[in-house]
């Protein structure tokens, strides 16, 4: 049913395209750094978090890693719309590989690109006086993989309904921003009003960022992780499975 060679080559193609688009590469690298060092250091002056044992700029690192994965995963699925628009999708559809193989190829390439970017961002941790050991890094890669998979699957599901690049940008921005602001990236979810919290509780990124906090932020207090790690992983894994299934289903239906 699945052709691994096809999944490999679909992923390879996305990586090649990613590294060849200079503009995209620069924007992708600059976005988290801007958030971290401009927004982060600005707020660090404004918000006194010394009682919690975590500086604000440290506090937002897990959130910014989450944001990087969110943007990368969601916008990687533009390739589905792009391929349809420019005909390349037909080259894939007329080949003997199953539709599910194509979905898995897109899913894996989006996920791998996100993990790569998230891992690259972790290089800044020592500059924020956050110590990350080898084991922490390995755990982070695993968690980032899960989160990226969940969000890419969501993106793929939505993208398979979209037929124009303009539509894609409008819809995805509409999805990305609330997801980011309801993820606990910039402020703890616990500090949100009750009726807004409900939305955070169904947001996969919220659990993703929380799991990153488990690994990256030491100590206890209001600014570290809010949910148990087991809940984080369970929610994200379930979310991935459901949306992988849904996007495969939709892709199979729409030839």
């Amino acid at each position: 049913m699945l052709s691994y060679k096809a999944i490999y080559v679909i992923t390879l193609r996305e990586f090649k395209r990613f590294f060849r688009q200079r503009g995209r590469l620069i924007v992708t690298a600059a976005r988290p750094l801007i958030w971290l060092f401009i927004v982060g250091s600005g707020f660090t002056r404004l918000i006194d978090t010394s009682e919690e044992g975590v500086r604000y700029i440290q506090f937002i690192l897990p959130g910014i890693v989450g944001m990087t994965i969110l943007f990368s995963s969601i916008f990687s699925t533009i390739s589905v719309v792009w391929d349809r628009e420019f005909g390349f999708l037909r080259e894939m559809l007329v080949s003997p590989v199953s539709r599910v193989t194509i979905v898995f190829g897109k899913l894996l390439s989006g996920t791998a690109l996100s993990v790569f970017q998230g891992a690259a961002l972790l290089i800044v941790a020592p500059f924020l006086s956050l110590h990350i050991g080898v084991m922490d890094f390995v755990v982070m890669v695993f968690l980032m993989f899960l989160v990226a998979l969940a969000i890419t699957a969501l993106g793929l599901f939505v993208a398979s309904f979209l037929t124009s690049l303009e539509g894609f940008n409008v819809i995805m921005n509409f999805i990305v921003l609330p997801m980011f602001f309801l993820s606990g990236a910039l402020y703890p979810v616990g500090s949100l009003p009750e009726y807004i919290k409900v939305f955070a509780y169904v947001n996969p990124l919220c659990y993703g960022v929380d799991s990153f906090k488990h690994v990256l932020l030491p100590g206890q207090g209001a600014l570290v992780a809010e949910f148990p790690m087991a809940l984080d992983i369970a929610f994200i894994a379930a979310f991935s499975v459901v949306f992988t299934f849904l996007s495969a289903l939709v892709f199979e239906r729409r030839k």
């Binding site: 080559v9 080259e91 007329v94």
Partner: protein
């Protein structure tokens, strides 16, 4: 057993029939052409045979497999070159071809071997590692045809292979397809709305408004016309038509801006026409039978190029 077998195929789009009960067979090794104006249902039929499109009723078989029940097996046996470019512009020629090979589950060694071979054939060996974006229209076309052949398909489908190319490139691509056919020996199924391209097919199905209105060898189709066609423009076409009918007992067909006459021998008829016709003649054109005439004879219309058909997305 025919390699392609289609029986009473019907395809509807929102209730209107785009393909209205088409039947034909293609034999192994044949070059088979679909000729007809845009919107005749050529691309729809090709998309059905390539399993990209479902259909409402009838039978479509390729290489012995049912397009509806065994689409994967059909896909394994076919190569397809689409009307529009479907290469990845950001990748090199080699990378585009490699992508294709891996989608067809080819071994790495075989992949390298075939890519080297086919790039020689299409004359792009020296552009192997160039980004496709920089290629001209003709080069992209050649690369796409090369890609369609990489996995040695039993049937190569070419949907308007020369659409949007300038005449010179068009004839290059065309020579190239014929050369390939000789070396690879596979069945070629093509659609075109250029008459001169259809002439090289072993057999042609002329399609109009969702139906096949004739299907035979090009020379047989032309033979059926039994004679030359004279295209005539006069000061008053209606009057001339009546006059010709009375004087020569011939029934001229009205075409846009003039008349068409089917006569046994054009050279002998024209002097008589000038001698006896009283309506003023503004131009006369003698044509040996061509596929264009076959089309006009069958449909009463000229086959006009109405520009590229609307792009169909999967």
């Amino acid at each position: 057993m025919p390699i392609i077998q289609v029986e009473n195929l019907i395809k509807k789009y929102n209730g209107t029939e785009a393909v209205k009960g088409v039947s034909f067979e293609v034999r192994e090794g044949e070059t088979f052409g679909f000729l007809g104006p845009n919107g005749a249902g050529k691309t729809t039929t090709i998309n059905i045979l390539c399993t990209l499109l479902g259909f409402d009723s009838g039978l479509a078989m390729v290489n012995g497999f049912d397009c509806k029940r065994d689409p994967h097996k059909v896909r394994q046996a076919i190569g397809l070159v689409f009307q529009e470019v479907t290469l990845d512009n950001e990748l090199t020629a080699y990378e585009n071809l490699k992508f294709h090979c891996y989608m067809y589950n080819m071994e790495k060694r075989l992949t390298e071997e075939r890519i080297g071979e086919i790039l020689e054939v299409v004359g792009l060996a020296d552009r192997r590692d160039d980004i496709v974006k920089k290629f001209s229209g003709g080069m992209k076309r050649r690369l796409e045809i090369a890609r369609g052949l990489l996995h040695r398909p039993r049937v190569l489908f070419l949907d308007e292979p020369t659409l949007g190319l300038d005449p010179q490139t068009r004839s290059h691509v065309w020579e190239f397809i014929q050369k390939l056919k000789k070396s690879e020996g596979n069945t070629v199924f093509m659609t075109t709305h250029y008459m001169e391209e259809a002439e090289v097919c072993d057999r042609i199905a002329i399609m109009d408004r969702g139906r096949i209105i004739a299907c035979d060898r090009p020379d047989e189709l032309k033979k059926a016309l039994r004679g030359d066609t004279i295209y005539l423009k006069t000061s008053d076409n209606d009057r001339a038509a009546v006059e010709i009918e009375a004087k020569f007992s011939l029934k001229p067909r009205k075409i846009e801006g003039g008349l068409a006459l089917l006569v046994e021998s054009g050279e002998k008829f024209i002097p008589r026409l000038f001698e006896r016709l009283e309506t003023g003649i503004s131009s006369v054109n003698l044509k040996r039978p061509s596929l264009e005439d076959v089309f006009i004879n069958l449909t009463g219309r000229e086959m006009r190029d109405e520009g590229p058909s609307p792009r169909q997305r999967p």
